[in-house]
Symmetry: C2
Subunit: 419 residues, 2 copies
């Protein structure tokens, strides 16, 4: 039997009624002859509740215990989905990550899947089981402890299962009906895309468009998994949603495919730090060891012999998620106390946001950056940090201007009109 | 280091503040030099919520999926307790049932612990860990699926760990400060007992005094585990609570130690069933296979050749928890349809309660039953079913008379006065 992977996000399994609705969709695919692997998230709100418990208990938590706590929400949904399918007379059972087992690295809270043995589930399919319901987001480390894959990790679980079982397709059911040019809640002119390339989706995912976890798109690109994003709240059809696919499968594309943003950013600056070979490695090694996900990095031009410093000094600015600021501050202050780093001051700004334009067409079209900066300037929005890649330009701005910036850029690049 | 087992029930870990309070008690024992194994229940209300989800999803649920769902609450508490202890600079980590592993039978939802390998946790103690936090109530079957031990199963987990680790004592922290002559919410004259024998505790536990799970008392009796029940809401002391111990450790005891009751009982009667050898085995085998916990059983005097039945006929009455009535009805109707049983009618009464008097002194004192029946008769309470054992007498009565019966019996046997 061909295998199909179907993933249901938190809002798609938020209540017992929604679980039933999702199960009916699974039933439709089973009736077509598929053996189905269903990946489920925690019921909407559950994971946030559990994360809240952990953070209140221990602000600088042991990530192994964090994982043990927050992974429990998916286990509940997996069991309930299996029971719902059984009630529909569809042979089904649930698997928790350690039961498959979904083998991951030991990087707790952001583990990577290393192997998914398929024999256990395939044997059950051979025995007549039609649906394997797997708790997403979780796995087990070589030490036998529970790991999680980071927020949105169930998408990655789904794509990894699709790759391991050579699935015909991986359908991601979510609360939106596809991938949009930007978030319709921010910009009412946002338009749904029928297709988007893996590369563009990767940038959009990593830039804060919360439709798919970045890692899931990377995996899908590497293993050529046909990935479809579609809504669990609309009528089911074989043509709905957005197909994430290879660049060559997209007929015509615009220079800019979408505008992404990320609201909960923070900007941190190490003021007057000695500018010597290895200083960046010392700073960002310290932050990586503390589990801080550094995003943008800017180093100022160096000044020589500033205030008696031997050698040059500089300022180093970086951005990270706002909820990691306390952790970053502690790690850097500890490194200073230990003599590993030497800086005058650490400044943290918690009220910034990141806005980005993304498009594979930017590779061949010039002037996109210039146009973006002009649009923001016309709106009197100050740009604090800039980074670019081959197919995207990102800027850090004051959070209060974020919506204005997204709307202005969406208009300027004609994203409300089809290519 | 000597090992101490401390178990905290749902109300003792109902909030993050209460978990902190419980962790402080653990800290006191660690400071005395113990290696501590902490067994935790789910936060109060969580298990009921999960059971509610399962029952709404699938009234005749697959017990394997039930276990996978309802065991998740304990995992959350275990992780949070470990984090709380770490915040107090006490080296601690959490274990889920499958990680220890707590090896059980495959009888899902009412599994029995078969083995608890101690090497894994003892090695961690040897490495300097002071507290092992273990999720109660759960284990893993030979097939690698999650099992649970029945409601209140965390008590059993605690006693089993105390036996496996040869612990000095097993302290059960709960929302009451010990074992009472009856439930103080029903009878204000109820009095706390300083000591109670394993045998009496066993009867009280199995009769609905919800302080300890029956199985935990059985295990403690068999393995001579010193078991103490005490409140997590009072000041900690080495002398508080009730010690559950051998009969010979109790100086003087009364004929009746306590009055127990169980509110959520149902009475079912198979009307006009053929009376032949093997009929009871057929009925109760059917019910056992369906997972119905039958308690009291009464068979009426047989009638010969009733309404054309070949051979004798009789009525068979039994009691079971009220939430298992639907399951029992289905199992019996199915057995009738399959020709395994032949009865005219199945009557279910959902509004009965069980009231019992318990005491080891009953072995040598006569007239306890007669006195009990007289007391109930004086209150005009009709007795529907009676069962007795060496140290207890139980009756099934209409639920609305339950409180009245408990109070009258408590008075009649002078339970408000010490021996």
């Amino acid at each position: 039997m061909p295998v199909l992977v179907m993933k249901f996000g938190g809002t798609s399994v938020a209540t017992l009624d929604r679980i039933r609705r999702a199960a009916k969709r699974v039933g439709v695919e089973v009736a077509k002859g598929y053996d189905v692997i269903v990946i489920v998230s925690a019921m909407s709100g559950e994971t946030n509740k559990l994360v809240g418990y952990v953070e209140e208990t221990s602000p600088l938590f042991d990530a192994r215990e964090y994982d043990a706590v927050v992974s429990s929400g998916e286990n509940v949904t997996a069991g309930l989905m299996a029971l719902t399918l059984q009630e529909m007379d569809i042979p089904a059972r649930s698997w928790q990550g350690w039961q498959v087992p979904v083998k991951t690295t030991s990087a707790h809270s952001s583990a990577r899947i290393e192997e998914i043995p398929s024999d256990n589930i395939l044997r059950k399919f051979a025995e007549g089981m039609k649906v394997a319901v797997v708790a997403g987001f979780q796995g087990v480390s070589p030490e036998g402890r529970i790991t999680t894959l980071g927020r949105g990790g169930s998408d990655t679980t789904a794509v990894a299962f699709a790759a391991a079982f050579d699935a015909e397709r991986c359908d991601i059911y979510t609360d939106v009906d596809g991938v949009y040019t930007t978030d319709p809640r921010i910009c009412e002119k946002a338009r749904k895309l029928d297709r988007i390339s893996f590369e563009e989706m990767l940038e959009l995912a990593s830039l804060g468009a919360k439709v798919l976890q970045t890692r899931s798109v990377e995996l899908a690109m590497r293993y050529k998994v046909k990935l479809r994003v579609l809504s669990s709240f609309e009528e089911m059809s074989d043509e709905g949603g957005t197909l994430v696919c290879d660049e060559e499968d997209i007929m015509e594309s615009k220079v800019v495919a979408g505008v992404a943003f990320s609201r909960d950013e923070a900007k941190m600056t190490l003021v007057t730090i000695e500018d010597r070979p290895g200083i960046a490695a010392a700073i960002f090694g310290t932050l990586a060891d503390a589990g801080v996900n550094v995003d943008m990095i800017v180093q100022n031009v160096s000044e020589l012999n500033y205030k008696g410093h031997v050698g040059g000094v500089t300022d180093m600015t970086f951005s990270c998620p706002v909820n990691q600021v306390a952790r970053a501050e502690k790690a850097l202050d500890d490194a200073k106390a230990a003599g590993i780093l030497n800086f005058d001051k650490l400044e943290s700004e918690r009220d910034v946001a990141k806005v980005s334009v993304v498009g594979i067409g930017m590779r061949s079209a010039a002037g996109v950056a210039a146009k973006m900066f002009k649009v923001l300037s016309d709106e009197n929005i100050n740009i604090q940090v800039i980074t670019t890649s081959e197919i995207k330009i990102s800027v850090l701005i004051e959070r209060k201007y974020m919506e204005l910036a997204v709307q202005a850029l969406h208009d300027a690049f004609d994203l409300d009109k089809a290519a």
